[in-house]
């Protein structure tokens, strides 16, 4: 049940990240079109592309934490025998959870503070761009908590 829910929420997160990449690809291409074909300036495309990219990057990063598909150095942990390896994996997940919670707590403080700051070009507060950090941190924390508390939830490392 939880596994199915996480599977679908992963698809939602990754789907949104993919959609945002498609939009920033379009925005940057439009920027070229505006400059050479319509000979108009397009001040908003660059900023929009940057913000969408940041959203897309953190959403996908949250999924990569959930799938345990990140850059890491496997030499030591793979050298251990199964029992200490499981214990170390739990310790690593707790450490990861700690960082995810830093992202949630301080990310929401920063996003809140940045709601006052107008974005340089787009008609929106910068806080909206920052909001993805606590969201991604929260989603990482959900994945890590499920893995720590429920049996059999540890993903196979790809």
């Amino acid at each position: 049940m939880v596994r199915r829910l996480l599977h679908w929420s992963d698809r939602l997160f990754l789907g949104t990240a993919a959609l945002f990449s498609a939009i920033f690809l379009t925005a940057i291409s439009l920027q070229v079109l505006y400059r050479y074909v319509l000979e108009l300036p397009s001040p908003w495309t660059e900023e929009m592309a940057r913000y969408l990219f940041i959203w897309s990057a953190f959403l996908a990063a949250a999924v990569s934490v959930g799938r345990d598909d990140q850059f890491h150095i496997p030499a030591f942990i793979e050298w251990l025998s199964p029992r200490p390896r499981r214990m170390l994996q739990v310790a690593i997940d707790i450490l990861q959870l700690g960082f995810a919670l830093v992202m949630v707590r301080y990310g929401s403080i920063m996003a809140d503070r940045m709601m006052m700051a107008r974005s340089p070009v787009l008609p929106m507060p910068q806080g909206i761009a920052y909001m993805v950090i606590p969201i991604a941190g929260f989603y990482m924390a959900v994945h890590l908590l499920c893995r720590l508390l429920l049996p059999g939830m540890r993903p196979e490392r790809p």
């Binding site: 690809l25 940057r50 996908a60 990569s64 934490v65 990140q70 030499a75 920063m110």
Partner: protein, 430 residues
């Protein structure tokens, strides 16, 4: 003190197997307690600024381009093109593998994408022609390391944005080293073929066939012209050129060759987003890490150590860098190494009068060779996956080619003039 906490914490966490991005972040969380007038909010701010950069946007776009090109199965045309020209040389298909990878290097920005795209076509073809499967895999894998050295290059884009140098210059500086590595591999393949009395396996050279293959490959060969030419001609910024290349690649796959369908696009976008998300997470926390290092004045302190005094020869520094990077490449992925080492080495290099472009090319070449190390190299994993060859067998078969790549690396390291010749010729001396 902060520097010790940062590096000690990072090394400990990495060694335990904590993911690189989170290890960097946690080391920063601990070290920041020692800085005055800062709170943890700054971590979020730096993570954000680390990605809030239009240049870095080229990275996910080049990753998407890699996915699109692989799905569009453009490699067959490049292989056919390479075959028409170098198939008759001693070691025929081996030469074709190197040239195909050099062509792919000019299109994609990543060695791993090149290895996957050329490996699925070439390893079966070479095995059918009588090559040992492990030799075919090792050869294609080593040839794929030219990918990040030859422009465009994801590693170079990241270096340029961290070091604050021009991407156009970096790209041009990679051309001659990339060609050098490729020629080196072609020479040793010819040599091995002579020794083992393997004749040329391709059909005889014919002008007709060459023209036909060129015609078929022409739309694909237009890609490097579009990307590199566009950047150098000042038509596009690097990020814009990456997005135009993505659209062009989609056009080739969807309309011209009909090898991808519209409904494949979400899957390609998702795969590229996930790979990019993994990299960007490291980029975000590494920028917190290097910000704290800079606040603690660590790079300057390191650069003022007696071994890096003004009298130290640049050659000594560069040799040390080669050794350090090759050792690191045996335990860590390319991009994390790049993000951690660049802010430390740059002040030392500048003080010793080392050109930052040349430094970047040498680092890229090191990281490229690191792609085929047995423990962690991502090209190794891709090739062993495609060809179902055990890691050790792959490592053993790649030794002669690795030796050539390392000789190439040393030539690049000791002849900065060769690296800087092309950018200085086309863009003027800086």
């Amino acid at each position: 003190m902060i520097t010790i906490i940062l590096f000690g914490g990072m090394l400990l966490l990495f060694a335990l197997g904590v993911p690189v991005a989170i290890g960097l972040g946690l080391a920063a969380v601990v070290a920041i307690q020692d800085l005055e007038h800062t709170n943890l909010g700054v971590i979020i701010e730096r993570m954000f600024y680390g990605l809030d950069n239009f240049v870095i946007l080229a990275v996910p776009l080049f990753m998407l381009l890699g996915e699109v090109m692989m799905a569009a199965r453009i490699t067959e045309r490049l292989v056919e093109f390479a075959q028409a020209f170098v198939g008759r040389l001693p070691g025929g298909l081996g030469q074709v593998a190197v040239v195909s990878n050099m062509l792919m290097a000019g299109i994609s920005g990543s060695g791993t994408a090149d290895a996957a795209a050329t490996g699925v076509v070439l390893v079966p073809a070479m095995t059918n022609a009588g090559y040992r499967r492990s030799l075919a895999a090792a050869l294609v894998g080593c040839a794929a390391t030219i990918g990040p050295i030859f422009p465009p290059s994801i590693i170079m884009i990241i270096y340029a944005s961290v070091a604050g140098v021009s991407i156009a210059r970096m790209f041009l500086a990679g051309v001659v080293p990339g060609l050098l590595m490729g020629l080196g591999l072609m020479v040793i393949i010819g040599f091995m073929a002579r020794r083992d009395r393997v004749g040329a396996d391709g059909p005889p050279f014919s002008v007709r066939r060459a023209i036909h293959a060129t015609w078929r490959a022409l739309p694909v060969l237009g890609m490097p012209v579009l990307v590199i030419g566009g950047i150098l001609g000042g038509v596009f910024t690097p990020t814009e050129s990456a997005s135009v290349a993505c659209l062009y690649g989609m056009f080739l796959g969807l309309v011209a060759y009909r090898t991808i369908r519209l409904r494949d696009l979400p899957r390609l976008l998702g795969a590229a987003a996930l790979t990019s998300g993994k990299v960007q997470f490291v980029l975000a926390t590494a920028s917190v890490f290097s910000w704290i290092l800079a606040r603690a004045d660590a790079p300057r302190q390191l650069a003022s150590l007696p071994i890096f005094s003004v009298g130290t020869s640049p050659w000594l520094i560069m040799t040390g860098l080669d050794i350090l990077m090759l050792v690191l490449a045996c335990v860590m992925e390319a991009i994390p190494i790049l993000l951690i080492i660049t802010p430390m080495i740059l002040p030392i290099a500048l003080k010793a009068g080392i050109d930052p472009i040349y430094l970047g090319v040498v680092m890229t070449a090191n990281l490229a060779i690191g792609l085929v190390t047995p423990l962690i190299g991502s090209v190794t994993f891709v090739m062993c996956g495609i060809s179902r060859v055990p890691l050790l067998e792959f490592g053993r078969r790649s030794l002669p080619f690795l030796a050539v790549l390392v000789v190439g690396l040393l030539i690049i390291t000791y002849t900065p003039a060769m690296v800087l010749w092309l950018p200085n010729l086309l863009l003027g001396v800086e």
